[in-house]
Amino acid sequence: MDFRINRGFDIALAGKPVTDITDVAPSATVAVFPLEFEGIRQRLMVSEGDEVRQGAILIEDKTNEAFKLRAPAGGQITSIVRGARRFVEEIIIAVDTNAEAERFQSFSAEALQSLDRKTILDQLTTTGYLSLIRQRPFSRMANPNTRPKSIFVNAMNTGPFQVDAETAVGDDPSAFQAGLDLLTRLTEGDVHLCIGETAADTLNQAQRVTLHRFSGPHPAGNTSIHIDRVSPMKPTDTVWTIKAADLVGIGRLFLDGALPPHRIVSLGGPSVKPEARRHYRIRTGGDLATLLDSALNEGEHRVINGDVLSGTRIERKFHLHFHQSAITGIPADRERYFMGWTMPGLQQMSFTRTFASTWLPGKRDWDLGTNMHGEVRALVLTGHYDKVMPLNIMVDFLIRAVMAGDTDEAIALGILETDPEDFALCDVICPSKVEVQDIIRQGLQMIEEEGI
């Protein structure tokens, strides 16, 4: 089916990565960030100085001992960084290319199509790759004990900038199809593959799934929108979701019986040199420092794990995260504009038409930085947010309910159908500079703790 999304807003951020893939020289170190895997209780299985094989167990979940975090490459553990409450924040391994790899079960492409659910989930759990499959509501790691109503595969992206699904899938189409075949074994319902209207053949020819085409401005590529249009969730439903680029990794894991050695990552944004704005094949958990040193412009920048809308800032840990498939660099913008409240504003990006730049013809790309462009003011219920919200959600009233701690009202208003990323544009366009995503995140957390 084709779906056209009308509400939304495309931020024309400068620095879109081209779809070419460049190989990055394998880095000398790899890292694992256990805090990425939220909800697990760490039991550290190694200590500094240990020699480990690729796929060796580093950390095991105390509450579900089948769930392990494994070494993305073999070598010697050089440091284990602990943070608040002694949680392990980072495990760094000096890579030894001669080290042997741990083997897992491997299957032929045909055998995958009839694999039983338990075998698949066991292998996903013991490798930690289960964490690539997310579960709604609450966007947590899929719980292997639930049976999802359906599974949504997101093979498009409309925000600035995520890894290009076509590029990642096109790099290894057979692994992608293998991943899809595995998903069909995990649900009694459908596997929905959501693609953009101009998607390439590799996506269009996907087998044994239901194809849906989405078009329109961001957030047309968000999974919540896909779920809402294709098969809306009831409060008691569970739906699993996964990104196409991540599914390639899962497919590879089952075809090869070994942890995928690398993944495709996009690098873009105004701070990235034009020739470096592209896709890269990077060692899983690999060091990014060398790449970023040569790719970033002069000056001070913010490096973001993910996109500018919902990504998280990386301060110093320049290793690839397990869930990371995009890196964005934007300039640290502390410019103070003289009389910004009245100057015509030829260099200002705005969803409103209050700046001269918004009246100029032609499309242009914006070198947006970290400037807030204003101070926090009282939240006023105006309906302004609804202009960028294609879901049937009254954003103002939802965030008011969350702020008031009224979880019943928030659920009634549909918070369980959403993910904080769906509210990223509300953050962007709010003249009062209200942190809408953060409010929604708190609301979901509150409900998860209290129970529905």
């Binding site: 809306p232 003289f338 209050t354 400037n371 101070e375 009282a378 006023v380 009254m394 009233f397 366009i429």
Partner: protein, 389 residues
């Protein structure tokens, strides 16, 4: 301009907590943010943000008010000169006279309103809110040019303190502060707002040729047997004159044309709600048509398009009803809210013999109803969601 920035940076610490002048910190912050956009970086949520902020929004509203203001200045001067039989007063003479009449009112409104805003900001330690820029400018424009300045001061004090600050400042208020200021004067000093107050004059030298009555005043006080049609045919009320706004009335409200220019600016910049404006017009036109069909009084017989250009309807619709803080927030709510404003305007105009203008009360009343309307709309939304599930 860098030297101003350097100066600010060099004295900033005095105004921070623990500094010598921390009590007046909000004043420094406001001045600082006035000259340069505030220094703040994103730290949560989206990493890049829209360039628009509340200051920019408020200032855009001020610009949209400029046509009404400038026309109002000219109109006040023009009618003064007519009343004093200044023969063939030039445009410049009218403007200068108008400025002499209007500027003190604007000045008092901003000065006294600003005083309260700053006082509350300093005492309650919140930033000085930009809302005053608009409220302090809207208020003079809905006053008659003859208003005593002390009443302006009292009115704006009441509106800002009781209407806004005690609720927590801009964004927390329930009704439109500028309209509340006016309502206060309307009820407390009724003599200043009724009768022959619409033309500024010195003493009682008003020339005979000028009645000083607003079109609505004319329509509501026609002698027995005279109908609205007679008044129109006789030229006592004239559509084009009312549309352009060369009529006695509150300073900024007489010209529908100027209001339309302002509305175009607000809608084009994406700031005001077209739903509210459209709904107000629909409400007024439909209820006026209903009144035309069944009513008997001259006011009820006045055609809808005269109602559109009469009194403060255009001004109220464009600038007052659309105030996002006090208006309804849901899309359906905006239609209901606006429509009922239009209906109430007609009801007050037709049924209220004492005072023929209903826009102020209609909007204030619907301000109070807006949360209720939104609550119904949200309930309906929740019920529909449940059905879908």
């Amino acid at each position: 301009m860098k030297f101003i920035l350097k100066l600010h940076d060099s004295i900033r610490h005095h105004f921070k907590r623990g500094g010598k002048f921390e009590h007046v910190g909000p004043i420094f912050d406001a001045a600082d943010a006035f000259t340069f956009t505030p220094l703040e970086e994103t730290h949560l949520g989206a990493h890049v943000r829209d360039a628009v902020d509340i200051k920019r929004v408020m200032v855009t509203v001020i610009y949209a008010l400029m046509p009404c203001f400038l026309f109002g200045v000219w109109n006040a001067g023009h009618h003064y000169n007519l009343a004093h039989a200044v023969a063939n007063a030039s445009f410049i003479q009218d403007m200068i006279r108008g400025l002499i009449i209007v500027m003190p009112i604007v000045f008092v409104s901003y000065a006294v309103g600003g005083f309260w805003e700053v006082l509350f900001a300093c005492v309650r330690k919140h930033p000085i809110n930009e809302g005053l820029l608009v409220s302090g400018f809207l208020f003079p424009l809905v006053l008659p040019p003859t208003i005593p300045l002390w009443q302006v001061a009292v009115g704006v004090s009441f509106g800002i303190v009781i209407g806004k600050e005690i609720f927590g400042g801009t964004g927390m208020n329930i009704v439109n502060p500028a309209l509340l200021c006016r309502a206060f004067i309307f009820f407390a000093y009724a003599k200043s707002m009724t009768g022959n107050v619409w033309i500024a004059s010195a003493g009682d030298v008003v020339a005979d040729a000028v009645t000083g009555a607003t079109p609505l005043g004319v329509l509501s006080s026609l002698t027995d047997g005279q109908t609205a049609a007679d008044a129109i045919a006789g030229g006592q009320v004239n559509f084009m004159r009312m549309f352009i706004g060369i009529e006695p009335g509150s300073i900024g409200e007489t010209s529908t044309l100027a209001c339309l220019i302002g509305a175009a600016m607000l809608l084009a910049s994406g700031i005001a709600s077209w739903r509210i404006m459209t709904a107000c017009v629909l409400g007024l036109v439909s209820s006026a048509a209903l009144a035309n069909a069944f009513g008997a009084s001259p006011m009820a017989q006045t055609p809808a398009h005269y109602h559109l250009v009469a009194g403060g309807f255009a001004f109220g619709t464009v600038f007052m009803a659309t105030d996002p803080v006090s208006a309804a927030a849901t899309n359906a709510g905006k239609w209901i809210y606006g429509f009922l404003i239009g209906v109430l305007v007609i009801i007050v105009r037709i049924l209220n013999a004492g005072y023929p203008e209903g826009v102020m009360l209609a909007i204030l009343f619907m301000n109070l109803m807006a949360p209720l309307i939104d609550s119904f709309v949200v309930d309906h939304h929740i019920r529909r969601r449940r059905k879908r599930a």
